[in-house]
């Protein structure tokens, strides 16, 4: 049965160790995702990007962290002190909690490559990311200032509009897989990755995921050019840092979900099983992260009314149609 080196996945101390390790990994990934973004965007704009701190700029994230921690922590006089302080934590905690259910590689007998295998994993993730919106909305509202409020109003409207289409696009995958367990969905893609039968859903998911994480070209919530910094205008120091971390971790999360649901998770393409599944998973996630950065350095920000019109008049009808077609095809084929 379970040897000491393959302890049961449900032992409390195993979960504790796994959580601590995963937390470290995710935070480090955030730090280097940020560096990668600055580097890649720099290259695309014919700049070398950060290259002063450490070899090739590799120590830049550490220096940035120290800078953020040392900065003055300001609370505006008009702010609601409790909610103002709570908001960054809501953002970060929900962003991090998602990793409790994400499987990174194939489950082995007696141990799994995840903190826990929830049989409603995808619902858990959707629920948590929805709570994450509260961080942004409350943060902007509690700042007691003009631009943050506009930012959070936009955040609320944008999230509602795009989350609907996002869920619609995910339901197509759930119908094909017949399960809401993330590991189960990946196992369903052993023969064919779902982005082929669910191509429309895949495209919709990619677009809505950008809007969900407030990334360019859908970064209306931050909109530096028009809203100063949007919801986080009044935040400084470590609290701003928490929002910042949450944004990048959300990026990572939607990349993980896209990988799990559409690109077959840890499944190797063309039967190249020589490379372990965890590596395939990371490659796929890395591809999505790069795609995000690529989009940001390519496209200008959408106008707000166009963003809403695109969400409601294009994405939602297409996603619904895709869902109906998928349901009918699956029902007909039995």
């Amino acid at each position: 049965m379970n040897q000491w080196w393959t302890p049961a996945a449900s032992l409390w101390w195993v979960i504790l160790i796994k959580s601590a390790v995963l937390l470290l990994i995710v935070i480090t990934t955030f730090a280097y995702a940020m560096l990668a973004e600055r580097k890649v965007m720099g290259w695309m704009q014919m700049r070398p990007g950060p290259n002063r701190v450490g070899p090739w700029g590799l120590l830049q994230p550490a220096v940035d962290a120290v800078k953020l921690i040392l900065k003055e922590d300001l609370t505006p006089k008009t702010a609601d002190p409790l909610i103002y302080r709570l908001a960054p934590f809501i953002s970060l905690v929900t962003a991090l909690s998602v990793y409790a259910v994400i499987p990174f590689a194939e489950p082995q007998p007696g141990s799994i490559w995840a903190i826990s295998d929830v049989n409603a994993g995808i619902l858990f993730i959707l629920a948590l990311t929805s709570i994450g919106v509260y961080g942004i909305s409350l943060g902007g509202w509690a700042s007691g200032s003009k631009y943050p409020l506009l930012g959070s109003v936009r955040a609320t409207a944008q999230m509602i509009s795009y989350e609907l289409s996002m869920s619609m696009s995910l339901i197509g995958v759930l119908i094909l897989a017949g399960t809401t367990s993330l590991a189960g969905i990946v196992n369903g893609q052993a023969k064919l990755w779902y982005f082929i039968p669910q191509f429309v859903g895949f495209i919709i998911y990619i677009i809505t995921a950008i809007a969900e994480t407030n990334r360019a070209p859908f970064d209306l919530v931050e909109a530096d050019a028009e809203l100063v910094g949007g919801f986080n205008t009044e935040y400084s120091g470590l609290r701003f840092g928490l929002f910042f971390i949450a944004e990048y971790i959300n990026m990572l999360t939607v990349s993980c979900i896209a990988t799990l649901l559409f690109l077959g998770g840890w499944t190797a393409p063309f039967g190249w099983t020589v490379v372990p599944g965890i590596v395939w998973f990371l490659i796929k996630v890395g591809f999505f992260m790069f795609f995000y950065i690529w989009l940001r350095s390519t496209f200008p920000r959408l106008r707000y009314d166009r963003l809403m019109a695109f969400g409601w008049k294009v994405l939602l009808p297409v996603a619904t149609l895709n869902l109906i077609v998928t349901a009918v095809v699956v029902a007909v084929r039995g």
């Binding site: 695309m44 700049r47 070398p48 989009l295 166009r306």
Partner: protein, 200 residues
């Protein structure tokens, strides 16, 4: 909603292609402190007061640079040369010569106005300082130290323009000065020589 901008997926992909292509191109960035840009040979930078080969100052304290300066950056106070204290070959020398480098617009008109080619603009451009007062350069910093020879000069710059831009360049010592120098004539010489350059 304009269909052209939102639904033209081909244009979006083309845009992605452009950024992807640029990612691998050579970056034009100059890593400044460790790597410096090569300036044009006649770049207008920090001023310098030159000397003749025998160590005498070229400046005769005529204040032409000061009057021509559009930014009023130059202050010159001239003084008579006495036989025992002879700083320049002419009758007068600059007792004080100060340039406020913060006012200076580096137009080079002082250089053009100078009848003796005493004030020149060197290609040196790194002169930042912590105090405004430190950027008022006086003779102690402007004048070429005696051991440094005649100093960088327009005729010494490796720019392909002939060394004898005007007859002044031929005057290397105080003795040459005595041969006389027609300042009014200089402009014509310059023009004809530059014209000759442009044709060749």
């Amino acid at each position: 909603m304009p269909r052209k901008t939102l639904y033209n997926v081909g244009a979006l992909l083309a845009g992605l292609g452009v950024t992807f292509k640029y990612m691998f191109q050579k970056k034009p960035t100059i890593q400044y402190p460790s790597e410096k840009k090569k300036h044009a040979p006649r770049f207008h930078g920090l001023h310098e007061l030159r000397r003749y080969a025998d160590g005498k100052e070229r400046c005769i304290g005529c204040e032409l640079c000061s009057s021509v300066c559009p930014a009023n950056a130059i202050t010159v106070i001239g003084a008579e040369n006495s036989p025992e204290n002879r700083l320049s070959p002419g009758e007068r020398h600059a007792a004080r010569y100060e340039i406020d480098e913060l006012r200076c617009i580096f137009c080079g008109m002082c250089e053009e106005a100078c009848p003796t080619d005493a004030i020149v603009l060197t290609p040196r451009f790194e002169m930042s300082d912590l105090r405004r007062g430190s950027l008022i350069y006086a003779k102690d910093r402007l004048l070429v130290p005696p051991e440094a020879g005649v100093g960088a000069a327009p005729d010494d710059r490796p720019n392909g323009i002939p060394a004898d831009l005007g007859r002044v360049a031929e005057i290397k010592s105080t003795d040459d000065w005595q041969k006389g120098y027609d300042a009014t004539f200089r402009g014509t010489v310059l023009k004809t020589q530059k014209k000759g350059l442009a044709e060749s």
